[in-house]
């Protein structure tokens, strides 16, 4: 039971990171019906930007707690803004010129943009792993390991709490934006009928750009969390994280915002539990198998809407 609890905590933490990235996939798919394969690399760029900012600000584990929190909040905001610029640029350069083109064209440029981002970071930052010493240490011990000390000690680290809380707050915020604000309304309108939205005076190109900006800034948050949690980044982390998050988006029902969160959480949990109870080597196989099984029985994903014929 204790072991289970520990895996649950780890799984939720990992799932939060996947969920944050998955939102970017699902929002872009919802509005323009394409898979932004460069999104995983936007996450990687966000991670690197965070690392650079942390080093530039001289944040270390020795920084006083209050200052540390303020500095990390600053890193978060600046990294979100800078990564958003990257996301906006990718859309502007690689996707918008092809909007009237055939469906596969932006898919090809998406793969191109992904390779370009990876290589840019590889060349500019070097191919080696970039380590970061743990900034936030300490944890709660939820069990004491029994009277004789031989039991399993369940740890809930501050870092894990930070990740989950940040994720929940941001997801709530973005759900609010999508459901309640004028921007969100126009995004949903563009999702249903882009041409009609334009006829009501909605600047469709700008709305799509803002969708990429929102997705990229959430990916930056995931990037910072990943960096703080694992303490190491390299130019290639975007690939696997991207594939996993994409899987999460499909599992939850691509195009659906709560679906992406749920999918992320599930993929995180499946991976951790599989690693915990069976074998670490086959954790990806497990995640993808579940995806395949779910798609056979629920082709729209868990929370997806059946495809509506677009005119």
């Amino acid at each position: 039971m204790d072991y289970f609890l520990q895996q649950l905590i780890n799984g939720v933490t990992l799932g939060s990171i996947y969920g944050l990235i998955a939102i970017g996939y699902t929002m872009v798919y919802g509005i323009i019906g394409m898979i932004n394969f460069a999104h995983g690399d936007i996450f990687m760029v966000g991670s690197f930007i965070s690392l650079i900012l942390i080093v530039a600000l001289g944040i270390t584990a020795a920084t006083p707690v209050l200052l540390l929190i303020l500095a990390l909040a600053l890193v978060l905001v600046v990294a979100m803004a800078l990564t958003a610029v990257w996301g906006w640029t990718v859309e502007r350069v690689a996707y918008r010129p092809l909007r009237g083109s055939f469906r596969l064209a932006p898919l090809i440029t998406a793969i191109g943009a992904s390779i370009a981002l990876q290589n840019f970071v590889q060349v500019s930052q070097g191919a080696k792993n970039k380590p970061l010493q743990p900034l936030i240490s300490g944890d709660f011990q939820l069990t004491d390991g029994g009277a004789d000390g031989s039991g399993f000690i369940v740890n809930l680290s501050y870092m894990q709490i930070l990740i989950v809380v940040t994720t929940v707050v941001l997801m709530a915020g973005f759900t609010y934006i999508i459901n309640k604000t004028s921007l969100g309304r126009s995004q949903r309108a563009c999702e249903q009928d882009r041409k009609m939205a334009a006829l009501l005076g909605v600047n469709v190109d700008r709305t799509i750009s803002l969708t990429f900006v929102m997705g990229a800034s959430l990916a930056a948050v995931a990037g910072l969390m990943f960096l703080l949690y694992y303490g190491v980044v390299d130019f290639y982390i975007g690939f696997l994280a991207g594939v996993k998050a994409f899987t999460a988006a499909v599992l939850g029902g691509i195009g659906s915002l709560p679906g992406a969160m749920l999918g992320g959480l599930l993929i995180g949990l499946i991976e951790t539990f599989w690693s915990g109870y069976f074998s670490v080597e086959y954790k990806d196989v497990a995640a993808f198998s579940i995806l395949a099984i779910v798609l056979i029985f629920m082709p729209e994903g868990l929370l997806g809407q059946p495809e509506v014929e677009k005119v």
């Binding site: 004028s182 309304r185 249903q192 006829l199 009501l200 005076g201 909605v202 600047n203 809407q305 509506v308």
Partner: protein
């Protein structure tokens, strides 16, 4: 002189639209008078919807100019504008023959999307709105009031929170008009607003259009096949056939124009020869 020549809200000048070898609209010129209800009629395939598509930016005309004269005195050349600016800046709104509502959104949300631009400005592109700054709250309330106003006019107020797709056909038609009016247009283009309506609904539509024209001074340009609607409410009728204008004038004038009778309205069998003679088809 008629309003449409004296004070046109829209001037269509030598509009030509070709699709490959097909000329859908050829050298068409007509004016839409400010505050008038103008009907664009003609047989199926005459190019009426193509004209609408040119006006609202769906198509870039092959030749010709479309001059929108705002009441503020600004002139806009519609054929050069991006589609969303035609609504946002030139204040032209339209509805569709096959209804295009945002089916998954509620009725109120449909009307709020139409007021997107002022809301975005008021909320400093969302950021101010999220932080509770500026006049966002006030303009949000105003936008809801505007939406409510049109929902009352179109008799949909009871169902404001129902998804638009759940409405019945006649209600969807009225909602489309309400949504178009929420953009605050000076010219409202309606593509067959009475199609598929029963006589009672058709009558309500007439009242609504009269109201829009009288109370809001919005000029209306409509495509319509129902001649009873056309003759009753329009001030000015333009008739197209094969993309060419064959008649243009008051309903009374058009109704008696032999060209229109031959191409579109038709006559009793025993009058056919007489009309053919008048038009010169023998």
């Amino acid at each position: 002189m008629s309003t449409w020549d004296n004070n046109p809200v829209l001037k269509v000048e030598h509009l030509t639209m070709r699709f490959g070898g097909l000329t859908a609209v050829g050298d068409l010129s007509f004016n839409v008078g400010r505050g008038d209800i103008t009907a664009l009629i003609g047989p199926n395939g005459a190019g009426k919807t193509t004209v609408f598509n040119c006006i609202t930016g769906f198509y870039k005309p092959t030749e010709g100019r479309l001059v929108m004269n705002r009441s503020s005195g600004d002139k806009h050349l519609l054929e050069r504008m991006a589609d969303f600016k035609i609504t946002a800046d030139a204040k032209v709104a339209r509805t569709f023959q096959n209804i295009r509502l945002f089916g998954g959104m509620t009725i109120l949300e449909n009307l709020m999307v139409a007021q997107h631009n002022p809301l975005m400005v008021a909320s400093n592109w969302t950021i101010g709105g999220l932080l509770g700054l500026g006049g966002y709250k006030k303009s949000n309330v105003e936008a809801i009031e505007t939406a409510k106003y049109w929902l009352e006019r179109t008799d949909l107020i009871d169902r404001a929170d129902v998804p638009a797709a759940d409405l019945c056909y006649g209600d969807q038609r009225r909602l489309e008009i309400a949504r178009a009016m929420c953009t605050g247009p000076e010219l409202l283009c309606l593509d067959e607003p009475a199609a598929g309506l029963n006589p009672k609904e058709s009558l309500e539509l007439n009242t609504l259009l009269q109201f829009i024209r009288k109370e809001h001074g919005t000029s209306v340009l409509l495509i319509e096949h129902d001649m009873s609607v056309v003759m009753e409410i329009s001030d000015h009728v333009v008739v197209l056939d094969y993309g060419v204008k064959i008649s243009d004038g008051t309903p009374e004038f058009v109704k008696n124009d032999p060209h229109v009778i031959a191409a579109y309205l038709g006559v009793e069998d025993d009058e056919v020869e007489q009309v053919e003679e008048e038009v010169g088809i023998v």
